[in-house]
């Protein structure tokens, strides 16, 4: 009797009216959805749309402010991930927490190892049950291999196996394929299909529209914390997903851009330039032009930034700056040639957090003024005071450790350092990540001011609005290659997203009217 029931009529997990805020920031607004038995549900949305928060609520990591959850028709309010697991909801996180020095088996059963009489771990029983589990999942990796030996795909599989060892009814996968090549991602999708066949309900977060179209029985889309699409397979297209993800208005924080760069000379031109991490790339940026680089996470854009900065130099092809062949063989050389690189991870790659604002800001300003290796103290004082005022840096004093400033002010310190001398080429990697809206618009104004002076800007960003608002031209990257070049007239979030999710030679899909 029950087997004949329609999937939708017996939801395993049901969420209704879920809301959650962090301080003033409303991350989820009145979200309702359900997962049926043997169903794969795709959760889609831009960065910051609230996906991870929603999954954390489901798996007991966070409580919701409003709304309720039910599991198999019964009230479900897990107070901790442990309780969620006991109720049959397990999560495999995006960043795998595999311990490199432990074996696959030890990782999977971490904290739940079979114990002997003295509380010692029974190694044989552990590895035997792990082998059984992996066999069951059709996953061929030896339980005895060390975490540090595993590939990215295998790490993800072990993470999933760990969640599956709890025999959950609902398995949550947070971007299981984000760090994988498309080949490796297929094996993860296959695994999801097998789990589904065994009766597990799966929620997975993904940016890869292709695999969503292939694998999902149902898709829901979050945008700015609200549900914008909830449809069963066959009822939505790729374009519907994109529209639901990004359909918002451009705000007016972007400065006007000049209309044409036809007559300006290129500031930098790459011809088949590449290295071990970056297949040959060709592009050129004119003086005063902003070239946007769009792509999903990990499609080679950061390797490009590292090569331009001289940190991981190009090994092949040619680089021309101002029409003259040259090379960016080291960071010092790139700086000398007028290439300024603002890193995306300012805390790790940009700042000495324990040192004062002054010390962090003045490096390049004083470097050129130094005589006999002495610090030009007067120059440093003048520069740091002027830069603080120019960039409106809010700090108790210039002697305050830079780590105590807000993200936006830290970013301004990095800008102030690199802009001590006007560069020829400015490489920006996620320049507004983690900064407040006010600093954002200041950074946009600054970019506009610099391009007015003829600085060529390469803007790498995962924020589509920012790319569209600031760029004069956009290239999309997919799997470490440029997949499309888009002129300003053709900018739209949908078009960029489409180009950023397929190879250059893949045929464009028919756009639904």
């Amino acid at each position: 009797m029950t087997t004949a029931l329609d999937n939708r009529s017996v939801p395993v997990l049901e969420a209704s009216g879920i809301s959650r805020a962090f301080g003033q920031n409303r991350v989820l607004r009145d979200v309702s959805f359900s997962i049926g038995r043997n169903e794969i549900l795709a959760l889609v949305g831009e960065n910051g749309a609230g996906k991870s928060t929603l999954m954390n609520i489901i798996s007991g990591g966070l409580p919701q402010d409003e709304g309720r959850l039910s599991l198999d028709g019964a009230e479900y309010a897990p107070a901790s991930p442990l309780e969620a697991m006991r109720r049959g909801v397990a999560i495999a996180h995006q960043e795998t927490a595999i311990i490199p020095d432990l074996t696959v088996a030890e990782n999977i059963f971490f904290g739940r190892e079979p114990r002997g009489p003295l509380g010692l771990i029974r190694q044989q029983a552990l590895h035997r049950s792990c082998a059984g589990l992996l066999d069951d999942l059709g996953f061929s990796v030896s339980p005895k291999r060390l975490g540090s030996d595993l590939s990215a795909a295998e790490l993800q599989m072990v993470e999933i196996a760990r969640a599956m060892s709890l025999e959950p009814r609902v398995l949550v996968l947070d971007e299981p394929t984000a760090s994988l090549s498309s080949k490796a991602a297929e094996t993860v999708v296959d695994l999801m299909q097998r789990l589904k066949a065994r009766g597990t309900s799966i929620v997975f977060i993904s940016h890869r529209l292709g695999e969503i179209m292939d694998a999902a029985d149902r898709a829901i889309v979050l945008k700015d914390g609200a549900l914008t699409l909830d449809a069963a397979a066959g009822e939505f297209s790729r374009d519907d997903l994109i529209q639901a993800m990004v359909g918002r208005k451009l705000s007016n924080i972007f400065p006007e851009r000049p209309s044409s760069f036809e007559d300006t000379a290129p500031a930098i031109r790459l011809q088949d330039a590449g290295n071990a991490e970056l297949p040959p790339v060709s592009l050129s940026v004119r003086k005063g032009e902003v070239l946007g680089v769009a792509g999903l996470e990990g499609q080679g854009q950061h390797e490009l930034a590292a090569a331009l900065s001289g940190a991981r130099p190009f090994r092949s092809g040619t680089v021309e700056i101002d029409g003259k062949p040259t090379n960016l063989s080291s960071v010092a050389r790139a700086i000398a040639l007028g290439v300024a690189s603002i890193p995306d991870d300012r805390k790790r790659d940009g700042l000495a957090l324990t040192l004062p604002v002054r010390t962090n800001m003045s490096l390049f300003a004083i470097g050129r003024e130094s005589a006999f290796g002495l610090l030009p103290l007067a120059t440093e004082k003048r520069f740091t005071e002027e830069a603080r005022d120019r960039f409106a840096i809010k700090a108790a004093s210039l002697e305050q450790p830079v780590g105590e400033l807000s993200g936006g002010n830290q970013q301004k310190v990095v800008f102030a350092r690199w802009l001590a001398h006007t560069p020829k080429i400015l490489v920006l990697a996620e320049p507004t990540k983690g900064v407040d809206i006010e600093t954002k618009s200041e950074i946009y104004r600054l970019v506009s001011e610099l391009t007015g002076k003829g600085v060529a800007v390469i803007l790498i960003s995962s924020d589509l609005l920012e790319l569209i608002g600031l760029s004069d031209r956009i290239v999309t990257v997919y799997e470490r290659r440029i997949s499309a070049e888009i002129a300003r007239a053709d900018f739209s979030e949908e078009h960029i997203m489409r180009c950023a999710t397929r190879h250059a030679d893949e045929p464009a899909e028919v756009v639904h009217a």
């Binding site: 900065s309 001289g310 940190a311 080291s330 960071v331 010092a332 790139a334 700086i335 690189s341 890193p343 790790r348 790659d349 940009g350 700042l351 000495a352 957090l353 324990t354 040192l355 010390t359 490096l363 390049f364 004083i366 470097g367 130094s370 290796g373 002495l374 610090l375 103290l377 007067a378 004082k381 450790p401 350092r417």
Partner: protein, 323 residues
């Protein structure tokens, strides 16, 4: 003209003692008062004479403070000073004619230890405190094996003038050397570009590299400077004792860290207070004098030393909280 006046003002501003240095100085004054009450006599000459004897620790502490500024620890300074003692006695062999040879070999050995420490940290990416601990063990073992436990040679009496002699009868030579080290390292760290690059490399080597600084080289140089300071400390110590003995300088490792911390050095790095850490070294030295005067067993020194470290850090933290 105006800029030179402006620069002079800025230099003076930089040389103004930091709160941590003043706190250490206050602690020293309190200690001297207690010493005066206990012994009934504290004269300027007596203080200078104590400084004379504290000079080895003072100079070694300066090196340790430099490494602490880099956010690291040098656990090999004691063994390096001990190595200097043994090598100096061997190469001197009691004959003043060997001075140039003896000093250059000893300083050369010290520099090599620093290069080894630096390469272990930079090239092999071993955390500094483990790398220097390993170096320290290797040095101690090597000294024992090579000397067979009884080091040869001696320091000629004429050489001992550097720790026994007084310049014009006013200032001990070893104190002059100590002050020169303070001036030299202060200039390097606070007034030169290489010092600034060193500071940035120590605080965030990765960011420093991405800003065009040869961060690895800067870290190696800092370890060489620390080992050279330890070697000079070892040479002064040799001049005081006049002979070589195994393990004579082992306590300097812990003492130099204690002195640096009392003088305002912080484990997170980024701070270099040459005057403060020198006062820290003096405090440790006067504590020993005080215990001698009030005839407590020498081992109580450790208890008092621990107490003073806690006191110095508590004072620093209370102040920070009130900010």
């Amino acid at each position: 003209m105006q800029t030179s006046v402006q620069s002079a003002v800025l230099v003076l501003e930089k040389l103004r003692p930091s709160p941590a240095t003043l706190r250490a100085f206050g602690l020293l004054v309190v200690l001297l008062c207690v010493l005066f009450v206990a012994s009934g006599q504290v004269s300027g000459h007596q203080i200078l004479d104590n400084m004379r004897q504290a000079a080895p620790l003072g100079i070694i502490t300066l090196g340790q403070a430099l490494i602490l500024m880099m956010g690291r620890l040098d656990l090999s300074v004691g063994a390096t000073a001990g190595l200097a003692n043994v090598v100096l006695a061997m190469t001197f062999a009691g004959n003043m004619d060997n001075m140039a040879y003896a000093l250059s070999v000893t300083l050369g050995c010290g520099a090599l230890v620093g290069v080894a420490n630096g390469l272990l940290v930079v090239a092999l990416r071993i955390p500094a405190f483990l790398a220097t601990l390993a170096t320290s063990l290797v040095l101690t073992g090597t000294t024992l094996v090579v000397t067979g436990g009884s080091p040869r040679g001696s320091i000629p009496a004429e050489f001992r003038v550097i720790t026994e002699g007084w310049f014009l009868g006013v200032l001990p030579y070893s104190v002059i050397l100590w002050l020169a080290a303070i001036a030299g390292l202060t200039t390097l760290v606070h007034f030169t570009m290489p010092g600034r690059r060193m500071l940035l490399a120590g605080a965030n080597a990765r960011a420093a590299r991405l800003n065009g600084i040869a961060a690895g080289r800067m870290i190696v140089i800092s370890f060489v400077l620390s080992s050279l300071a330890a070697t000079i400390g070892g040479i002064l110590l040799s001049a005081i004792t006049g002979m070589a003995s195994i393990g004579i300088a082992d306590a300097y490792t812990v003492d130099s860290i204690a002195a640096a911390v009392i003088g305002g050095a912080v484990f997170g790095g980024g701070v270099f207070l040459a005057a403060g850490v020198s006062i820290g070294a003096l405090i440790l030295f006067f504590v020993q004098s005080l215990l001698y005067v009030v005839s407590l067993p020498p081992a109580t020194r450790f208890i008092v030393q621990g107490g003073i470290i806690v006191l110095a850090l508590a004072l620093a933290n209370i102040r920070r909280k009130s900010d």
